[in-house]
């Protein structure tokens, strides 16, 4: 069952945006549609055009895959949790006079940089529409960075042992929840295309 130049071109566009197994599956569907149209219309050009019209344009198909992607869903969950956990830690730092702590400025800057990178990556993962691989990579980096950030916060608390408070409990719970969300999402982002 030979394909058609128009269909090949469409698949090449999709191959630039989507993982190989997905493109392979889409190619089978598109070619099955083309075969059906060939039986119905008998003309290769008309059949290719009809199959492509029935299939949907590359932007629509890619956007549908990106919307349903595990990367986007993980990024969304972490971004929703972000302000709550961030505000909790902010309140803990303010009430604990963190600016007077012995933590070196370079460590504080590194933490701020990590936080900024995580937010940026997660936003890229949420905003992406046309590049599935970029969304997946941004979500993976963003999720990993959030996990590192929360682990650092937990480690700092265990090292400095600040006085217990309700705010600290809320912040710790938020960080542990985010680490669990990240631990759940990362294997899927790595294993699945």
């Amino acid at each position: 069952m030979a394909g058609h130049e128009l269909i090949e071109r469409h698949l090449q566009t999709l191959a630039k945006r989507l993982p190989d197994p997905v493109v392979e599956e889409l190619a089978d569907g598109l070619l099955a549609s083309y075969d059906n149209q060939m039986e119905r219309l008998g003309d290769p050009d008309a059949a290719a055009r009809a199959a492509l019209a029935d299939f949907g344009d590359a932007d629509t198909v890619t956007a549908a895959f990106v919307r349903a992607s595990p990367g986007r869903q993980a990024a969304f969950r972490l971004l929703v949790a972000g302000p709550i956990v961030g505000l909790s830690w902010g309140a803990v730092l303010v009430t604990g006079n963190a600016w007077a702590s012995t933590i070196p400025l370079s460590s504080r800057l590194a933490l701020g940089l990590l936080l900024g990178s995580a937010v940026l990556m997660l936003l890229i993962a949420i905003r992406g529409r046309r590049h599935y691989r970029a969304v997946r990579l941004a979500a993976l980096v963003g999720t990993g960075t959030v996990a590192v950030l929360d682990t650092v916060m937990l480690g700092t608390v265990l090292t400095l042992l600040p006085p217990p408070s309700l705010l600290l409990l809320v912040a710790l719970t938020g960080s542990i929840t985010r680490i669990m969300l990240a631990a759940q999402a990362i294997p899927e982002l790595v294993m699945r295309p």
């Binding site: 889409l26 569907g29 299939f55 549908a64 349903a68 899927e188």
Partner: protein
């Protein structure tokens, strides 16, 4: 019928097409079109992401085979998928009865 109108019902519709046995993505789309007399004719390319989502949710299971020299991914319902389909049917029947009663001017909720 536009795809937007299917929001909330697409999963159940896709699961229903797999009730009688495994199907590949294009066959799922064709089954949906045929069983609705052509009124639900979704773009083929948008059926696949929904199938992937259902697979991640454990409602269907995919496997590869080679057909006519092409690699083909075929999907079948899992036990969880069958339960979800039964739930979707019950929910739809209840929903349709309520809306029909409201639009038809009949009494709702039913009173004794």
């Amino acid at each position: 019928m536009r795809a937007e109108a299917l929001k909330g019902h697409l999963d159940g519709l896709l699961l229903a097409t797999l009730e009688d046995g495994p199907q590949h993505g294009y066959a799922v789309k064709e089954a949906l079109r045929d069983t609705t007399g052509g009124r639900l004719d979704l773009p083929t390319g948008t059926v696949y992401p929904a199938l992937h989502r259902l697979e991640r949710a454990g409602l269907i299971k995919g496997s590869w085979s080679v057909v006519g020299g092409r690699r083909r991914r075929t999907y079948e319902l899992t036990e969880q998928g069958r339960r979800s389909l039964a739930g979707a049917r019950d929910h739809w029947q209840e929903f349709a009865a309520v809306i029909s009663a409201a639009l038809g001017g009949g009494p709702w909720p039913a009173t004794n």
